[in-house]
């Protein structure tokens, strides 16, 4: 059965971005059922990627095409956003980013039509509706299957950075969770979420996958909700820990970080101990979700903690050369500005609540922010 999982070779370091977005009423900015009607009526030729259903009818996903440069990814995202905003207007609904909807009532969510979604609902029950959270997935192209398995694990220690930079889900069920990213708590309820185990190479991955399948735990690669996982059908490694940012610019910037990091890792092939990294991974992830830039990250090699803010600043400096080679410095600058200003999307949402004193207007502001111009400030 291993032939069922063929690794499709792809151009190394090419990128693809998926954004899960919120569909809202224009009346009170609560989530609404709208995705299938929207898609059915959509007049779109797919020139910049795809627009797809997600698990519940209040979510919609945009996927860019596979691109070599971050600029092209940003163009795709910008164009897809434009299509979506226009189509939503025709249905009198609206769209915005953010990792969670601050006040929606999850029992009111409707499962999207389709066998896969119905099976998910049958299998996971209410978790499927609570999975109405919104993430950004970044695909990085790999030349070989072994590269993909290696990179999946090598990127593991950098997960907290992606979480802190994208954090945009401080509110759940109308209350401040005190987390910068509460979205991942909804994901971690699933039995196959978390970290990829220690794997030597592609054959080892296949053996692990077949073991899980024979034990009846997985039916397809989509059942693995790992933070980072190989995606054989696309020939990519998929980073799945980011919240959907509030606008397109940071989404493209996070893709730039992934591309630079992957280039550096694949080029230098640093020695690392995935087993040790695995021991601190859950703790570090919690720290990043809870505290964002203020997290304290455990470093297994040095056997001590380091501030995430300082480590991330160093990393962005180190990646300067990669960014120059890939032509995406200005996108890394977006992340640098966010880090040095200390204002993540989660902080911005909290600041809006201070102004408005109600979450409806906070979502309204998020909606406006999603329509911002895409180009990063120069």
């Amino acid at each position: 059965m291993s032939d069922a999982l063929e690794f499709t070779q792809s151009e190394p370091l090419t990128l693809g971005v998926e954004l899960e977005l919120q569909l809202l009423t224009t009346r009170d900015f609560d989530l609404t059922r709208g995705a299938s009607d929207l898609l059915r009526a959509m007049d779109y030729d797919g020139r910049n990627g795809d627009i797809k259903l997600e698990i519940t009818e209040s979510m919609i996903e945009i996927n860019t095409l596979a691109r070599a440069s971050v600029d092209d990814i940003a163009d795709d995202l910008d164009s897809l956003r434009g299509v979506l905003v226009e189509q939503c207007a025709r249905n009198n609904i609206t769209v915005c980013g953010g990792g969670t909807h601050p006040f929606h009532s999850w029992p009111e969510r409707r499962i999207s039509p389709g066998e896969r979604y119905e099976q998910t609902y049958a299998r996971y029950g209410y978790l499927a509706k609570q999975f109405t959270v919104f993430g950004q997935h970044i695909h990085i192209g790999c030349a070989t299957a072994d590269d993909a398995v290696w990179l999946t694990q090598a990127l593991g220690p950098y997960v907290p950075f992606f979480i802190a930079l994208s954090a945009s889900s401080p509110y759940v069920d109308g209350v401040d969770t005190y987390f910068q990213s509460a979205r991942l708590n909804a994901v971690s309820a699933f039995p196959l979420s978390g970290q990829c185990p220690v794997l030597a190479d592609w054959n080892d991955f296949l053996a692990h996958y077949e073991f899980l399948r024979d034990c009846g735990i997985v039916a397809s690669i989509k059942d693995l909700y790992w933070d980072i996982r190989p995606k054989p059908e696309y020939g990519t490694v998929e980073i799945r820990v980011c919240d959907t940012p509030l606008s397109i610019v940071p989404a493209a910037a996070l893709a730039a970080l992934a591309q630079c990091l992957a280039r550096k890792l694949l080029r230098e092939r640093p020695v690392f101990h995935p087993g040790r990294a695995l021991q601190v991974a859950r703790y570090n992830k919690f720290q990043a979700c809870r505290y964002g830039f203020d997290a304290q990250i455990s470093c297994p090699e040095k056997r001590r903690q380091e501030g995430l803010r300082e480590s991330l600043a160093s990393l962005l400096d180190v990646l300067g050369e990669e960014a120059k080679a890939l032509g995406c410095q200005r996108w890394l600058d977006v992340l640098r500005r966010s880090l040095f200003s200390g204002m993540s999307d989660a902080d911005w949402l909290r600041s809006r609540l201070t102004v408005h004193q109600n979450l409806h207007d906070v979502v309204r502001d998020s909606m406006d922010r999603f329509r911002e111009l895409r180009h990063p400030a120069t």
Partner: protein, 424 residues
């Protein structure tokens, strides 16, 4: 039967009055509050029973309760009681129409021109189809054919809102059913006011009244709606959004509008609907947009539909009028379905037709409008509008079922059962 029970009690009471100084005279009728509570509980029990056993929409149960306990069958709710309870029914109706107006987003028509076309054709085709049917087939005089068309052309936003709340429907068919029913109701209000003028012209040679009465009704409703909505926004703007205090302001302002409209003999339903529309359009800062009416206003809806059920003239039913009413409903349904089918737009044909089915209800607004004309022209109004009354009566029963069917078929209602409890 009631007298045989009450008679001896009354006699005993009167005898006791000579000995007990504190006893008041024997009550000649039920206190309004007691009456309200009886109507509420009766409507509620009948509706819950019909829903539990036959799966009927609750609003249908309220109407059935009103019809059974009203003049047509038992007569426990008689004409006096209906007059006594009418202010509460007006307030309930007003609050539901206020909500319909608040949910009407006219900006959507600018963003989606297909919807504008669909709505205009629904309004025009429905009016013309009913007018020509009433004039050519039923043989009503032109003015009364126009009055019948004005009364029955629109859908029933109040029924639609109750069905949507009950089935927790969400989606494009739901949103369009609200839009179409609200807009057609708005158009019907305007046509109704114009038709009132025509009827005046036919019934008297007093041209001043002919011109001024529609202006009084339409202009007055707009002015009251505008003033009260501005006042509501002004006061609510000083309170925290979504606070209980804002809810009280909204309800109080709605009741103020009802009261002023009643004092000045301006149509209550038109006033409250316009107030809702103005609130929706003028509230750029979203002062009241997130504030919902309290769940308790559905309690008033029970009384409203019990009253509507008791007001339906089932006793005057004749097979010919019934047949005519069915014919009217058929051409009305065709007009609405054709309008939706031809309107194009960002919904597939099947779903557009479901919108057409969902807007079939014809209810409280129509009945009250018909009463309005009948009250102004007691000699001929009631008989001339028998067709409209019967069409409304039939749709009072069929409309909620059709609306729920459309929303179910569109896959927009909640499929999971919620724990029993609560009215809605």
């Amino acid at each position: 039967m009631v007298d045989s029970i009450v008679g001896p009690v009354r006699d005993a009471w009167t005898a006791l009055q000579g000995h007990l100084f504190f006893l008041p005279p024997f009550p000649s009728r039920l206190d309004t509050l007691a009456l309200l509570s009886l109507l509420l509980v009766t409507g509620l029990l009948v509706a819950e029973w019909l829903r539990a056993h036959w799966g009927w929409p609750r609003v249908l149960g309220y109407v059935v309760a009103g019809s059974v306990f009203g003049p047509p069958v038992f007569g426990w709710i008689n004409a006096d009681i209906l007059v006594q309870i009418r202010p509460v029914a007006d307030a309930a109706h007003g609050l539901l129409l206020l909500e319909a107006g608040r949910r009407l987003d006219l900006r959507w028509l600018v963003k989606n021109r297909d919807l504008l076309r669909g709505n205009v054709s629904d309004i025009v085709l429905s009016f013309l189809a009913i007018y020509f049917f009433s004039y050519l087939v039923v043989g009503l005089p032109p003015a009364w054919a126009a009055a019948t068309a004005a009364v029955t052309m629109a859908s029933a936003p109040a029924v639609v809102l109750l069905i949507i709340e009950e089935s927790r429907a969400q989606g494009q068919v739901t949103e369009r059913v609200i839009l179409y029913s609200s807009l057609s109701a708005a158009a019907a209000f305007v046509v109704f006011v114009v038709v009132l003028g025509i009827v005046h012209a036919q019934q008297s040679n007093n041209w001043a009244n002919t011109l001024i009465h529609p202006l009084w009704a339409g202009g007055g409703a707009y002015l009251i709606g505008w003033l009260i909505s501005r006042l509501a926004l002004l006061i609510a703007g000083r309170l925290p959004k979504r606070s209980l205090a804002q809810v009280f302001v909204l309800v109080a302002m709605a009741l103020l509008a009802v009261g002023i409209a009643r004092m000045l003999a301006v149509p209550v339903f038109l006033t409250l609907f316009l107030m809702g529309v103005i609130l929706s359009l003028r509230d750029e800062a979203k002062v009241l947009s997130y504030t919902s009416l309290p769940e308790g206003h559905w309690m008033l809806a029970i009384i409203l539909f019990v009253v509507v059920g008791a007001s339906l003239p089932w006793r005057d039913f004749t097979w010919l009028t019934g047949l005519h009413a069915l014919g009217l409903l058929l051409v009305r349904a065709l007009a609405k379905l054709i309008s939706l089918a031809l309107s194009g737009g960002s919904l597939p044909l099947g779903k557009r037709l479901l919108v057409g089915v969902g807007i079939q209800p014809l209810s409280a607004t129509a009945v009250f409008m018909a009463f309005e004309i009948a009250r102004l022209y007691p000699e001929i109004g009631a008989s001339a509008l028998a067709l409209a009354f019967f069409a409304a009566a039939i749709m009072e029963l069929a409309g909620p079922v059709l609306c729920r069917f459309a929303l179910n078929r569109a896959g927009e209602t909640a499929t999971e059962k919620v724990a029993p409890g609560g009215v809605i």
